[in-house]
Symmetry: C2
């Protein structure tokens, strides 16, 4: 019986991993990808009639998908007007960073003054490596993805489902702000900083790491805001 236990646990984990998705969730997944990849630019409207025809689902199901993405912050719902891809103003962008700073710095600070188990830092190391590799081959979108994963995994160190969920939502909103800007200028500078931050964390120098992260986020916000302004002035 106990010989089967590990196998059964494995199966359970596998099942929960690929838990069946409702039609609305699958539709949401399709739209999510389109939005985050920029096929649907911020501000564009998503017509119910049109999309339900194209996606071969009823309007009711499509509306459920809209709600899901609305909760994730990717779409905004205006009563009697329809749903639109979220447009992040500079103020809202700053707000996203405000929350990131609160969460990420808190997570790092509370890791304690001792070096964490190297094993738990493994995902972070992989993300840094992925980012460096992507940068080496000029794949700036890949760098951006690795960067996102890095911060997700950083927060995951806290082991808090709610912090993970909030972070995931914030990063999704952030992706909206990336649309149309220069991918290299956007992501390139952070490959190195992620590595430096990871080193501090691995050394157990959490106070320094938290300070570095705070500066990191402030610089990143200012940088991103600048890029957006440039892009707006000469599109």
């Amino acid at each position: 019986m106990s010989t089967q236990q590990s196998f059964l646990d494995e199966l359970a984990a596998e099942v929960s991993g690929l838990r069946r998705a409702s039609t609305a969730e699958r539709v949401a997944e399709i739209l999510r990808r389109r939005v985050t990849e920029g096929d649907l630019p911020p501000g564009s409207q998503l017509s119910e009639e049109q999309l339900s025809a194209v996606l071969q689902v009823s309007r009711n199901t499509l509306r459920e998908a809209f709600r899901l993405l609305g909760h994730e912050g990717l779409l905004v719902h205006r009563l009697h007007r329809g749903v639109f891809v979220t447009e992040l103003s500079d103020d809202e962008l700053a707000d996203v960073y405000r929350v990131r700073r609160a969460i990420e710095c808190d997570v790092v600070r509370r890791l304690g003054g001792t070096a964490p188990d190297p094993e738990v830092l493994e995902p972070l190391r992989a993300d840094v490596a992925d980012g460096a590799a992507a940068a080496a081959r000029g794949d700036w979108t890949g760098v951006g993805t690795a960067n996102m994963h890095f911060h997700s995994h950083l927060v995951a160190l806290a082991g808090s489902p709610r912090l993970d969920a909030t972070t995931s939502r914030l990063l999704a909103e952030l992706r909206l702000a990336f649309q149309g800007a220069d991918a290299e200028a956007m992501h390139a500078p952070y490959v190195e900083r992620n590595g430096a931050l990871l080193d501090l964390v691995a050394a157990g120098r959490t106070a320094e790491a938290a300070a570095a992260l705070e500066d990191y986020l402030d610089v990143s916000l200012a940088h991103l805001t600048d890029l957006r302004r440039d892009h707006e002035e000469q599109p």
Copy 2:
């Protein structure tokens, strides 16, 4: 023209304030009240057919209301099984406090070492006064409400919509954990601590305030967990 500007701004704010609510939102409001007031105890199932008949709305609209409350954490949706009032395990309760600690302490810490404008602390003073008054007349539910408002207003000092929204969600989840426990034991101890915390903030001693708040939250979590255990053992 500029003389009208302030008036126009006022109107715009007023309109956005009383934005009409859809049917789903009104239904959600009704259910939210029932859940937070304990009429629908945690774990109970909400039947679509039954509720749509009672509330005189279609199943589709009811489902939209369910989604709204699901996003607020009050209901959980299990595929092909239905929606249930959220049951907060001890681990999840601790997770709620984990996030509260990250947010609230960060907000206090970043107020800066200088005493804030007394005006912005006015809502907090009112909440403390409300709590004290409610305690004086033995209205422990009122004390709990004032306590919630205090923490909402505390976070509001940061001026971050996203922190406000997250806090609102956390406090809603917290209300679920209060169900059935002794209201006096639950809320009474915190009237005094809120006042002390506010004094530290008003004096600009933010570092001390943050430390006090951290201790506050740890004690509160331990206390609440104990009360829940007691209540479970002898209901």
